[in-house]
Symmetry: C2
Subunit: 321 residues, 2 copies
């Protein structure tokens, strides 16, 4: 079975669309992986690229992509609303299918070493690929941004993981990481009372004592006329979707309101959905269908997790064909 990762490089140009095209050029029409999207944002002055496929196949094209960015972006003159420390700011690898987190960490280190050699941009490995606890959280590394990194990188505590302890004069530094996919998930409440969404969000989110990897808040949907608990699930293995959905249903009972549906924003790995379907299959003492086709996963996600506006294309792997 194919090893599939998602790779989401972020680079610090989101205004000059001609430059954006030139920078992503080496990632187009390559063997072994797909350029799923690239979305320039002019306020942020930043472009988020999404690649999907075999990580080994990505390495050489990614080096060419970084060389282009280094060539076309001068961080001494770059301004935007998003914090940044380099021309290519971050390069995270996310396990999707038939690949472990450890393998993604290895990929991050392999390409990190190569980046330092071939582009002269110093590399900090972060998240699961971090070699020190203080480098787990990207904001810790990025603090001070491009401008502050000139001095920061000379502190013994901030020696880069690969490359010299000296920023690239125009491209700064780059963060190369490995992490779980972030799931953007919302649960609909059949009420327009924002206070109820606020209380339920507080019950489930990590910052107020709830599930560790859940960031959640209340939102009123103007067009639909009801409230939602809107959230990010930062670790779907420790905080699976079904557990959050069922806990929200349990909390909603005290307000005597229904929880008619929920929604995935963006894409979701197949594994994330199957893990949660397994809960409902077990409750109903049904066997897990070995095949679990995209259609089957989609149908059952709609049936049990009440996903609305959901179809097979919302599953990451369905975008590979």
């Amino acid at each position: 079975m194919q090893k599939i990762v998602q790779c989401v490089p972020n680079f610090s140009e989101g205004r000059d669309l001609k430059k954006v095209e030139k920078i992503v050029e080496p990632l187009k029409n390559q063997e072994g992986f797909k350029l799923v999207s690239y979305e320039p944002d002019s306020d942020y002055n930043r472009t988020v690229v999404t690649l999907l496929g075999n990580p080994e196949a990505m390495i050489e094209p990614l080096i060419k992509f970084i060389l282009k960015a280094v060539d076309l972006i001068d961080m001494n003159h770059q301004k935007g609303e998003h914090p940044r420390m380099g021309a290519v700011d971050v390069l995270p690898f996310i396990p999707i299918s038939n690949i472990t987190m450890d393998e993604c960490v290895d990929i991050a280190h392999k390409i990190g070493k190569k980046i330092a050699e071939k582009t002269k941009v110093p590399v900090f490995t972060y998240a699961e690929a971090a070699q020190e606890t203080s480098r787990k959280k990207l904001p810790n590394i990025r603090k001070g941004e491009f401008e502050g990194m000139k001095d920061k990188i000379k502190e013994p505590k901030w020696t880069p993981d690969y490359g010299k302890a000296e920023i690239h004069p125009t491209a700064g530094v780059i963060g190369v990481g490995a992490r779980l996919p972030l799931i953007a998930y919302n649960i609909d409440l059949a009420t327009d009372d924002i206070e109820i969404a606020k209380k339920i969000a507080k019950a489930i989110r990590g910052s107020s004592g709830g599930f560790k990897h859940i960031q959640a808040g209340p939102v009123f949907l103007d067009e639909r006329g009801h409230v939602q608990v809107t959230m990010n699930i930062l670790n779907y293995k420790q905080n699976p979707i079904y557990r959050i959905f069922e806990t929200v249903k349990m909390e909603a009972k005290r307000y005597n309101i229904d929880v008619p549906s929920s929604e995935i924003v963006g894409l979701v790995p197949k594994d994330t959905v199957i893990r949660s379907l397994k809960y409902y299959y077990a409750v109903e003492q049904r066997d897990l269908d070995e095949a679990m086709t995209m259609d089957k996963v989609t149908d059952d996600a709609i049936k049990y997790l009440k996903f609305r506006d959901f179809n097979a294309k919302k599953i990451i792997e369905a975008n590979l064909d």
Copy 2:
């Protein structure tokens, strides 16, 4: 209404029972509070005292109690399995009825100042009473124990909150704190399969991504012949009992096992139980009975939270009369 706190002094003598008696003597038969229990442990070489009542009434007797302990315990020769930094090691105040955490923090500081003046034992305020984040967790303060405190207390970072930066030569230092009550709570599973209890404990406990203030593990009850999820609830306001009980029931469904009962170990404040009963009243759209007598709280806790071996005497406040 009477302000009620629980105060749980721990002192470093648990072997010489004559000394233990002499030390607790000033806490017996006092006006305004009750000496509920004192339990010497010879392995720990430590005695845990429980007081219940008006905190102001406790102040003078507690000073006399500490003076006795200072007089009778020499930490230079004290050995036991429990980490300790002083003759009276810790003195936490726990809000029970008609008193806020802020008031308990004030009491901790008031008595802390007095202890330093009258007993010459330097005071570190901890938990909610801490004045610095690094002093929130007692183990941070106690690290190095009595033996290490001689030098540690001279570091600017570890200047005591009250008293001189010099340990008492025989009594060391004391931690004076304010914290929420710790609820020891177990949920019964109708199975002898310890793996199921292990998986459910993992789903709910903070250390593996679950509820922040829950420490939980699996246990097999030999005599009863079934397993339990056994836990401490460190903050019953953010992680109320009903939420944990209902989440465990939800998780148990996937194993098709019943959750017939649960149990409180030791005592529980009335407020803790009422907070959880409110959930079930709301679900059933019943009004909260204003009176909520001990008997009513007891009956409904058994009905909704399935407390077994529970009676009014398990509610802290019932022990005051």
